[in-house]
Every structure is written in C-alpha cells, then in structure tokens.
C-alpha cells in the first residue's frame, strides 16, 4: 500500500512534487485515511500513518509554496508595501470572513493556507501545557477539565518534540515533569536577556530558556539557524520547523499530498463519513473516499467544514449533536509594555525569543488566569523598517535611524481566555467564498478574568521596566490587546457527548470514522502557545486511527 498505487496510474511525484504545471489532483483509490489540512497537525498524522503502511491522502486548500521563493517572501515581510497576510498570499475571496463580536478578530493575520499551514508564518515557541491546564475546572474553579491528563500526553509530547525538532533546556523550574532530554540544546540567552536578568533578579522573578522549534544545530537534514532575524513570517534557511517538513516525509513514505484542493463538504451517512468532496483549480470537484478521515483544517476551518457538511441527519452541522461545533472559540490575548533605556539593547539580530518566565503561571485561580512573560529580542523598530517609511533620506535619515534604533526593550505576556459558548465560529448568512460557501463569521469577546490578568501582567511588566529605568514607556493593556494567532476550542474534547465534539481518542462522538487533530479540541487554552500540544494530540489521534484500521 503506497502512494504510487493511484487511480489513474500517474507517477506519485506528479502529485507530491507540485512543480509540474498541472500536477495530478485526482483522488487516490483505496485510501485508508484522508487527512484534511496539511498544517503541522495533518502532516504529523499523515507521516505517522504512512509510516505504518496505510494508504494516506492529504488534501490542502492552499498551494505548495516553492522553497526557492522564501527569500522573496522575506522581502515582502520587510517592505511596508505589503501587509502580513500578503507574505503568504492570504486574502481575497478564498479567505473572506466576517468578524462580528465585541472585538474585531483579524483572522487573516492569524493563519496561512498551504502545505505547512500556519506554521509557515509562526514564531515557533513550543512548550508543554502545565498539569493544571488539563484540570482547570477542578484546580482553578473555572473553565473545563480535559478528559485526559498531562500524563496521558507526556510520551506524545516527547515524540512531538523529536518530530518537530525542539531546542530547549531543562532550566525551567515551573515546567511540568519530563524524563526525556530535548532533542537539541537551547539557544543561549541574548544580550538583552542579560539586562532583564539583572532587573528580574532584583524582583525575584526567575527567567529560563524558551523551547524553540528551530534548529540550534543541524537536525533532521535541516540546517542550523543562520540568524536571518525574520522568523516570523518567513525563515529562509529552513531552520525553523514548519508543517511542510512532515508533508515531505509523509510523501516519502508513500502518502499523497494534494495541494490547492479545498474540501467543500464531507459526505456521510448517519455514522460514517464516506467521502471528502474537494475542488481543484481546473474548476472540477472530486470525491476522495477513504476508510477513515482526520479533519485537521485548523481551529476555524475545521468547525466551518463540519457546519458546511450539514445534512438531514445533522441539520446543525456534521458531528454536532452536542451543538458545540464552532463554540467556545478561544485565543490567547497579549499584554505588553516597553520603553527605552539609556544604553544599547541590541535588538533585531534574531527574530525569536530566548528567555521567558512561567513564574506567575501556577498562581492562576478563579480570578486570575495563567500567564507567562516573554522577553523580546526584537523590540522597537529595525533600521530597515525606519529607512523605508520616513520622508527623509541621506544624512537626515541616518540620524533618525540612529536616534530611533537600538535602545528599546519589550516584555510581553500571553494570557489565557476562558471557553465561552457565545464566542464562536459560525457560518455567515450572506457572504460566500470563491466556491460559493458561506464564510466564517467570528464572534469574539474577552472575559473579565482575562482582562484582570492583562492588568496584572502589565503590573509585573511595569515593575520590571521601573527596575530597568526605562523611559518613553508604552503599555499594551486591556484596550489595546490583540489575539495571538491561536485558534482553540471550537470542537472541544470531552467525555460527555452532549457537551463535546470529540472523545478522549480525538474521535467525534457522532461518527465512527472521523477524528479531529487540531487545537479546536482544546477544552481550555492554558497560556502556552498551542502547537506542541497540537502535535502531541495529532500523534495520539494517529495511533487511534491506526488501531481502528
């Protein structure tokens, strides 16, 4: 059972290389598994199941990006002419959406469609959730309990760290217990971390390293980080992990990865999905049949696809007997403060973070949410950014660059938000995408506990800045806060089928051959960036699919 056993007998490389003008996008015969979405979740599932000799096909809505264009994409990231979504061609009718909640949700700044998914654009901070995050209701008195514990996920966390390639150190006294060493040594702290370290020491705040999904040394055939400094949104060297890594390895193990193949709906009977109907650029639709299906289309498109696949039997959307599909939408919110020191702080050499503090995380309770502090290495403007945006040039410009660059510091924080049923991804009643499907309508608001926590995080940040003697201060607080690109909660996991969408095996309660691999299954958010947990859950889901086949 390999990817070359295809319906029309064309060579597998036609499908996976994606470099021919007209790659074969026809369905694969006798597929065991159809994975929808080629982000880290979908490709980790595909890689594992292809490695176990299953016939796997992966369908992704977006293109396979040419690696040789990465440097040009980096230029787009640097130049003011382009917005963030432009860098990875996000936008237009394909990605249309509406945000109707209390707070605007800038969806297209928070995702990428294509082989690799949103990790093409990501920062790459990868940490495990804390033990208490799995039992928020019992430990903190708010939110929901997960139907699994940290210990259930612990071996999968280790496997996800190895698969993704994580550079980390065992220097975080607040992190949950781990047995396995990190696959690579952590990146040493930056010069500006050393300035923070002095201030934090005086305030008795512990700093520690950040586990990074980027190579601190050559790993898995990919180069060590070269320090381009443009990690988010583009790593030109390939040192930063993205989901395309596992799309390649899955394909090498025989999986078929089809790009530009947005799934329109999932055809089903009462308890089984029969086919994923996908569109191709030539304007035709195809049916991909399979024994099992894994929906891994990210935290917004996953519920949307289920809602689009409604039927007589599931009038409110597929797998939605509970009514929870699309509900409990969560993101983390950002709190930050910064200022200027009277000495150089050496920012913008690299585009990632080397130090954090999880010290305040476990103080979380009913009133205050978990949060973590991040010490930036890219605070303030970069000289290139300044040069391209002024009305001056020549000596005047250089003088301005020297005045504006070099002395900034920023300390950020990620804050948990609570799962609230009214925060949700719904289908817009009128507006449709390029295929005539209703676009996602995002309802988003921020709960009072998260607001209080932003204020608390700001307080701590201000203490640190006071200690540093920073002037020209700014604060990003409750009013200015923004979501941090983590789409969670919209197909929550639980043991009660009337209140959740998937069970502890990540299988939908309603359908016996449909699993979901995504942060959409998180019942609570914690305040850690989600993707390592997504990876661990994806590997767990793959094991359950394997057992069912």
């Amino acid at each position: 059972m390999t990817g070359s056993a295809q319906a029309d007998g064309r060579d597998a490389s036609d499908r996976t290389a994606g470099r021919s003008a007209d790659p074969d996008r026809s369905p694969v015969a006798n597929a065991d598994v159809c994975v929808v979405g080629a982000g880290p979740a979908g490709t980790l599932v595909a890689d594992r199941l292809a490695g176990r000799d299953h016939e796997v096909v992966v369908l992704d809505a977006g293109p396979r990006f040419d690696e040789t264009e990465r440097v040009e994409r980096m230029e787009k990231a640097i130049r003011p002419a382009f917005s963030r979504p432009d860098v990875w061609d996000v936008g237009g009718d394909r990605d249309a959406y509406e945000s109707v909640g209390d707070r605007h949700y800038p969806l297209n700044r928070t995702r990428v469609k294509g082989i690799g998914g949103s990790t093409l654009h990501w920062q790459g901070m990868v940490m495990r959730l804390h033990e208490a995050d799995f039992a928020s209701a019992s430990e903190r008195g708010v939110g929901a309990n997960w139907p699994i514990e940290y210990s259930d996920l612990r071996p999968y966390y280790a496997e996800a760290e190895t698969g993704i390639g994580v550079a980390g150190a065992d220097d975080n006294p607040f992190a949950p217990p781990r047995e396995e060493p990190f696959p690579m040594p952590a990146f040493p702290p930056s010069y500006s971390d050393s300035l923070f370290a002095e201030a934090c020491e005086a305030l008795e705040i512990s700093m520690h390293s950040v586990p990074n999904a980027r190579n601190s040394e050559g790993y898995d055939g990919r180069s060590a980080c070269q320090g381009y400094g443009s990690c988010r949104p583009v790593c030109p060297s390939g040192a930063k992990y993205d989901g395309s890594v596992h799309a390649e390895t899955a394909a090498a193990k025989g999986a078929t990865v089809i790009d530009r193949a947005p799934v329109q709906r999932l055809e089903h009977t009462t308890d089984r999905i029969e086919a994923a109907v996908f569109a191709t650029p030539d304007g035709t639709e195809h049916r991909q049949e399979a024994e099992t299906f894994v929906v891994a289309a990210g935290g917004v498109e996953t519920p949307r696809l289920l809602l689009l696949s409604d039927s007589e039997h599931y009038p409110d959307g597929l797998a939605n007997s509970s009514g929870a599909v699309g509900r409990y939408f969560m993101d983390h919110v950002f709190a930050g403060a910064g200022g200027v020191l009277e000495e150089p702080t050496r920012q913008n050499h690299v585009g990632f973070l080397t130090s954090e503090s999880h010290q305040f995380y476990d103080e979380a309770d009913e009133r205050i949410a978990p949060f973590k502090l991040e010490f930036f290495n890219f605070a303030g403007p970069s000289p290139v950014g300044i040069a391209l945006t002024g009305e001056d040039w020549g000596d005047d410009l250089l003088e301005r660059i020297r005045a504006e660059y070099g002395n900034h510091v920023t300390v950020g924080a990620l804050v948990e938000t609570l799962p609230q049923a009214e925060n949700r991804v719904a289908l817009h009643p009128d507006r449709t995408d390029d295929h005539g499907n209703p676009v996602p309508e995002i309802h988003w608001s921020i709960d009072d506990r998260a607001k209080r926590t932003i204020e608390r995080a700001n307080e701590v940040q201000h203490e640190i800045l006071d200690e540093l003697g920073a002037s020209e201060r700014w604060t990003q607080g409750v009013e200015g806060t923004v979501p941090t690109n983590h789409h969670m909660g919209t197909t929550r996991m639980g043991s009660d089928p009337s209140a959740s969408v998937v069970n502890s095996s990540l299988r939908t309660h309603d359908l016996e051959n449909c699993w979901i691999a995504s942060s959409s299954v998180f019942p609570t958010a914690g305040a850690m960036n989600p993707t390592l947990t997504i990876g661990a859950l994806a590997l767990k889901a793959a094991d359950h699919v394997d057992a069912a086949l």
Binding site: P188, G229, V384, G385, A387
Partner: protein, 189 residues
C-alpha cells in the same frame, strides 16, 4: 564608510534577487553595444522601459542623494545590487519603468536626465515628484512607484547590507544571516 562587493552580495542574498548567477551575468556597457546606443539616444527601450545604462546611471545618481554622505563605493555597490534586482521577474521591469518615468520628469522640468543633474537638483526632483511623502506601492502612482523601485530599493539595499547595518548600529541587519553570531554579544564586545 566604504560599501563593498560583499555588501552588495549580502544585500542581494537578503532580498532574494538573482544571486550569484546574476551577479556574474550582467556586463554593464559604458560605450558601444546596443544598450549603450539606446541610452545615448536618451530614449527608453520600447514600452516606456529604461535601458540598462539609463537604469544604472539614474540609480547611482539617486543613491548619491539618498545614501548618507560618508558612504563611498556607491557606483560599484549599486551596479552589483542592480544586477540582481533587474534579473528578478517583474521587479526588473518595475525598476525600468520607474526610472524611465523619473528621467522623463527630469527632462521636462530640468532639461536633463536625473544622472546629469547636480545633487541638489536630484534631491529637489525627487521631492517635486513626491517620492519623499509617497508610500511605496509597486503598482501605484508614479510617485509611489518611484518610491518603491528607486528610492526604497536603494535604501533597502543599503540598510540590509552589513556596512549599512553598521552605520545604523546593527552589524547584522534583519534579512542578513549572521544574527546567531551577534545576538548574544554586548555593545562593547
């Protein structure tokens, strides 16, 4: 501060243009050859696109205005940088069109192409065109395109190069590989 070949190569590497092949491939012709003939007649090569020589002369002339005054080695740097930029699909045409437009305006307002103006007039011309206040927009108005393809392309080339970075106080500017060696270093190391 002297701009070097290494700066041009580094800026190009950072901006994904042409690369090593393009750097060797373009032979700037100062006299003789078709391109020079086109340029010496003062005209563009069809479709309102500037010739190689016109582009080079205009870009060097503008660089002399938009780069800080103590930068040297501009001619060689700009030539090498342009070699890569002109190779890049779409971008090369954008530069040629923007330079042709700039030269047209220079001729109608100052009776000479931008390369023949003295630096104060070049500066004035760019401001009269509106390139100082315009946002850079690759498919925008004339001012926006001149800002994008001429002024900002040159500034981008300079400030993503090691020498430009050093002028600004960062020896490893964004887009340039090398931050791993420098991010841990203090200011006096």
């Amino acid at each position: 501060m002297q701009l070097t070949r290494r700066d041009a190569v580094a800026a190009l590497a950072a901006l994904g243009s042409g690369g090593a092949v393009a750097l060797g491939a373009r032979e700037w012709q100062r006299s003789g050859g078709d391109a020079a003939d086109d340029a010496s007649s003062g005209d563009t090569v069809g479709d309102g696109l500037a010739t190689d020589d016109q582009v080079r002369d205009a870009m060097v002339a503008v660089a002399e205005v938009v780069y800080p005054s103590d930068v040297t080695g501009i001619q060689t740097f700009v030539e090498r940088f342009l070699a890569g930029r002109l190779e890049r699909e779409g971008h090369g045409e954008g530069i040629r069109r923007a330079v042709a437009d700039l030269d047209d305006l220079a001729r109608s307002w100052y009776d000479a192409p931008v390369a023949d103006l003295d630096p104060a007039d070049r500066d004035a011309l760019l401001r009269e065109v509106g390139a100082d206040v315009a946002d850079e927009v690759p498919d925008g108005t004339t001012a926006e395109r001149i800002r994008y393809y001429v002024v900002n392309d040159l500034l981008l080339g300079l400030y993503t190069s090691p020498t430009g970075g050093e002028l600004a106080g960062i020896e490893n500017p964004i887009g340039h590989p090398g931050g791993i060696a420098s991010y841990q270093r203090g200011p006096n190391e």
